[in-house]
């Protein structure tokens, strides 16, 4: 139903969104790697004044098993206030929750009971494939033309992957987004610069090359994705490709500046075939083209063969495996999750081409298995999906990457956990010793979404 004034969680600018009151709930996608119990959206109490702080207080199970819930997002957000395509009188109310493996899309209503979202619609994979020609829906973004879904596979589960649109009120699948995809074939993440009419997409690979785990021959042959694509957001036309080169594999999470007047963003490259390092690249406007520069390289750490999984033994090193990054609302701090070594790093990126390391914690990790101040002994998994509160004071993350890849790097299994860092406005991070969510053994946690919005769910049209 239309509202009389905009949803109170919509803010014209990121500066204004930073003044939002702290979130009290976090929604977390949780999946059963054995595909026996339905996956679920768990609701975690993140209100430090609450008696149930740091516990799972709600759980919405999916109607089927084996969906592999992964990323998800809101039906509407601050981009509704954009002047060129305003649709502000609606509610940020529904979570759009795709199954990455099943290609089924669930719509959850958080309004009647925010602590126990209700499934109000399920879109079966056949409908997505018929109307949009895509499968393996991944990233969800609310934007100017509705809900944008980045999908990794085509109808047959091969390439090209791409983007499709959904209606943000009826949730009808509207169809393929691209009008001219140019040379783009692989898909993964997608986000945009609203102020520069530009869509950016990144690359993983086609479903047949990751659904049973990473294939070493494909990886070592540099045949996974390694490019960025830049598009005209409104003409839906491919404009430019930037190839990182055959040393770099898996170009993943796109974090454009929130300030719509700024024309730069950050992306992580998971692995270098040369030295197993991970890297962060800044894309930026250079004249009338986009350009990239590698701004951070995080090296692999030498390790004993005995401590490494079979896939890494020959290398005698533990790769950082940076598999997620997140940018604070003021575009000042970039958080970097090193799923391999167990580091969660904070960089000051006020100068986006010259980041400075300002904070670091370690938890889990293939070799280190570092513990948490709450005292839970050696921990498995490592920092993975990161989410930052709108005010930049709190950082949440979980420890599982993807069902089929987890055991390749953590062959002894991953026991799920979610933790929280307190971040100082001037830089520096530390664990909140009171926040450690030990995940139920049946599931592993992945992406986190915060009540009212967070740093990777909203985009803005005003500086």
């Amino acid at each position: 139903m239309p509202t009389w004034t905009p949803d109170p969680s919509f803010y014209p600018s990121p500066r204004m969104a930073m003044k939002a009151k702290p979130e009290t709930l976090a929604y977390v996608a949780a999946f059963d790697p054995d595909r026996k119990v339905p996956d679920s959206i768990a609701v975690v109490d993140v209100d430090s004044n609450s008696a149930s702080y740091s516990t799972i207080i709600g759980n919405t199970s999916m109607p089927n098993v084996g969906d592999e819930l992964h990323h998800f997002g809101w039906n509407a957000c601050s981009s509704s206030l954009c002047p060129n395509a305003p649709h502000p009188h609606m509610e940020r109310r529904y979570l759009i929750v795709p199954g990455l493996r099943s290609s089924r899309i669930h719509i959850l209503d958080t309004k009647p009971d925010p602590r126990q979202p209700a499934i109000v619609k399920v879109i079966e994979p056949e409908e997505v494939a018929d109307k949009a020609g895509y499968t393996r829906p991944h990233t969800i973004h609310c934007g100017p033309e509705g809900i944008y879904v980045a999908a990794l596979g085509n109808r047959e589960g091969k390439g090209p992957g791409g983007i499709f649109l959904m209606d943000h009120e009826s949730f009808d699948v509207r169809g393929q987004w691209e009008m001219d995809r140019g040379p783009q074939h692989f898909a993964y993440d997608a986000w945009w610069h609203l102020g520069h009419d530009t869509m950016v997409t990144s690359e993983w690979g086609t479903p047949d090359t990751f659904e049973n785990g990473l294939i070493p021959e494909v990886l070592l042959g540099a045949k996974y994705g390694r490019r960025l694509h830049f598009w005209d957001l409104h003409k839906r036309k491919h404009m430019q490709t930037i190839d990182f080169g055959d040393k770099y594999q898996l170009v993943f999470e796109l974090r454009p500046a929130h300030d719509p007047t700024k024309a730069y963003g950050f992306v992580n490259c998971v692995i270098s075939l040369e030295n197993l390092s991970s890297s962060i690249w800044t894309w930026y406007r250079d004249g009338d083209k986009w350009a990239v520069k590698k701004v951070i390289e995080i090296p692999a750490e030498p390790a004993s063969e005995d401590d490494l999984p079979p896939v890494l033994k020959g290398f005698k090193a533990c790769p950082p495996l940076v598999t997620d990054i997140d940018l604070s609302m003021d575009d000042k701090f970039l958080y970097v999750a090193c799923w391999g070594t167990g580091d969660l790093q904070q960089y000051d990126v006020s100068d986006p081409l010259n980041p400075k390391l300002t904070g670091k914690v370690r938890i889990g990790g293939i070799v280190s298995r570092a513990t948490h101040p709450a005292g839970n002994g050696a921990l498995s998994g490592g920092p993975q999906m990161v989410e930052i509160s709108r005010d930049g004071r709190r950082v949440y993350f979980t420890n599982s990457l993807y069902g089929a890849i987890d055991p390749q790097f953590y062959p002894d299994g991953i026991e799920g956990w979610m933790v929280k860092l307190d971040a100082s406005p001037s830089g520096g991070i530390a664990f909140d010793p009171k926040f450690f969510v030990k995940w139920p053994k049946s599931h592993r946690p992945h992406q986190v979404r915060l009540e009212g919005g967070d740093c990777s769910s909203d985009s803005y049209c005003y500086p």
Binding site: P8, P12, P83, D197, T261
Partner: protein
Amino acid sequence: MTSGAWPWIVIAGLGAFHGLNPGMGWLFAVALGQHRQDRRIVWLSLLPIAAGHALSIAMTAGLLVLAGVLVDVRTVSVAAGLFLIGWAMFHWFYGARHRVRVGMRTGLAGLGLWSFLMASAHGAGLMLWPVLVPLCFPGDVAAGAASPVVPALLGIGLHTLAMLGVTAAVAVSVYEWIGLAMLRHAWINLDLVWTVALVLAGMVLLVA
């Protein structure tokens, strides 16, 4: 003039109403000024916004005048009334379903096109029909006896001036003093008001 000043006041009032709607241009002018960090852009944007709006109004008014000349006025009124109510319904249910063709990097021509599309899609010109019918085809004068073009042009001019005046006043006030935070509370659902206005305009045409 039997109906006196009222039709002209209504035409100007509707211009002010259209100018007040953030979806008709003032908000875009403010945003472009902020993006390019230049207050002159706010002022300059007003021209294509008003021109696009005027063109859309003129096309719908022209359609009405043409129909009024060719067919008898009563038939045109009834058809127009039904059309307006239908348009209002369509706008309410499917108004958000459209491509976004103009983005934040637009030039002035793109902004004019955007304004034209927004005014047309929202049925801005249709809302003027109930007032234009008595002005263009007054009383018992047979259709075609007096040229309906002059009052139509005057109406379009007056409406556009009022729209431009309010758009300018709001855009400049928000850009210079008020700031955009007020959108969060002050941006009332003008689409709802707009839809009601279209239905009312349609009903006026049907019963007049």
